[in-house]
Symmetry: C2
Subunit: 351 residues, 2 copies
Amino acid sequence: MAENRAPTIYDVARAAGVAPSTVSRAFSRPGRVSAGTAERIREVARELGYRTNPFARALPTGRTAMIALVVSDVTNPFCSELVQGAQAAAGEGGYTMLLAEARESEPLERALASADGIVLATSRISDETVLTAAGQRPVVVLNRVLPGVPSIISDNARGMRQTVAHLAALGHEHVTYVAGPERSWADGMRRRSLRQAGTEQGIQSRRVGPYPATVEGGARAAVEVVRRPTTAVIAYNDLMAIGLIRALASHGLQVPWDVSVVGFDNIFAAELITPPLTTVAAPLHLLGETAVRHLLAILGGARAESAEPVVLPASLVVRGSTARRRRNSTALTSESFLLSAASPYAEITQS
Amino acid sequence: MAENRAPTIYDVARAAGVAPSTVSRAFSRPGRVSAGTAERIREVARELGYRTNPFARALPTGRTAMIALVVSDVTNPFCSELVQGAQAAAGEGGYTMLLAEARESEPLERALASADGIVLATSRISDETVLTAAGQRPVVVLNRVLPGVPSIISDNARGMRQTVAHLAALGHEHVTYVAGPERSWADGMRRRSLRQAGTEQGIQSRRVGPYPATVEGGARAAVEVVRRPTTAVIAYNDLMAIGLIRALASHGLQVPWDVSVVGFDNIFAAELITPPLTTVAAPLHLLGETAVRHLLAILGGARAESAEPVVLPASLVVRGSTARRRRNSTALTSESFLLSAASPYAEITQS
DNA sequence: TTGAAAGCGCTAACAA
DNA sequence: TTGTTAGCGCTTTCAA
């Protein structure tokens, strides 16, 4: 309410009996000013309640001390932890974090306009757009790999290998993958990893979908899963797995007894549902943190932009949604698995 | 990477054959420039890829077109939707949203330094600090009421009344309230509402706690709940309710058969757990949205800061964690309820 | 309606 | 080590 104009370096300078530039230096590069004056200046500044104006500073330096985190859906539990990790790392580095939910490209524009650098954690934005953005500001992408753009990913391949091994150990011979958003790099990666792991471990796999990466999407997938019997399904993410489990139940199929379900991400709700979800845990917090750290390093002048993506560990967390295959329940042979009415999207691989 | 200095109004002015000030006007106050020139300027600007620099603009105007949302824990599912609503409203109003997680006051400082206004959605910050902040910039608080500070709250009293009525209808005569953070305004409000509703409807209530407003906190509360038998408990929030339910189960008490549990907020996970949680649904998204809208209105010069908090509807969502009281199980009399070993914190009310 | 010019608060040469 | 002096890109009187 008391609209007293905030004190500036000029006020401090006058009160401390030095030149404004000295005050500026005292704050922007301590060490370039004698200990004594520095101390006095800080003292006076404190008394006056001076705070450096980030905008005024941004103008001559071109550095805003802000980074932007662009996500596709804040509501997605996957995001929350990411955001937290990012926010922590940003604060630690003295940066303020902008959060943008990118439905269209406009938020990205705004982010580009005011942030020094950007962390992109959304599959909603096309590779081309990302590349364009990367041409203007340092960009770090999460869970996608793009030539020339530093990226942080979690080890989907490893998680998938563990999952397949786990399922195989439980006696499963076929696995259905419920695909998420088609444009998502992670989806492609998970699909390929499954095929690969399947081949290595003698497990047949097929894919259904794509469906939206939501509880609702998972529920919709259930219809197709029911139509094309399987003993184990791996969903693109936990949200879908949850939707799938519930919908399956309403179709009379009990997880894990009738069918085993595995998710991806290990979101908060994964261990709360019944049965608790077996899932590939992504180091969500670490992912966000690492991305921001990486970005700050680049902003700080680190030119060692190794072309290789940073791979963070992911590994299977076994809970209650997977169980030994029931020999007698679903009379599933290799043939019936492969031949069951295929949807237009279906993609079948044989080990 | 092509580090071509971004075009400025000077570049546009030269290319369009007008003065820089005209370009400025064309963007900041269309209407103060002839339709023809305006069109030409926009044209040229588009070609050059000009974007107004928010920092340069912020300097003379003092307006940054950014608002800050300060929350206590991004990871809390309660926040996610809030953030989304806020972010949507901000974008809609042409504002960029800063997100700060306030563990200490430093993030608040940063927010104050760069945002035009602030939405405070955390109980971690003291009333005094909020008041100080409100003295410097427009502030809107969420779920707390502070003299002179515009606030948005959800109708806890109504939700509580419904809850008590629901419980009473199920035959419960005593209710235990598991308290959350002591400094939280919402906690006090819920406690008072319960006492009030209890008095009105002839239900005895007592309080245990406070405990942290987390799953872990809820689990810890279970110990006390077990020690001091009760047939129904209302938890400060869903997270605690969830922790409570699970911990109760490990103590051999089944919800809702042995004890009914009600939460607050209706977070995403509430309907996923087993049993699905009966809870007072807060309009999370709307809360965030409304807070930001309100803030933008104030920033826009709305002086009608009605002293009254804006109250958004909250109401009970009945799911599976509440059930009819089993007459025979817990032989709970009014005396034993009131006299059971009280913790130092306990506060007992009699209708 | 448009242009000229003076800042907004800070940083960064360059001098002293 | 410190002061002087230009700007950074934009807005905003004030004149024209």
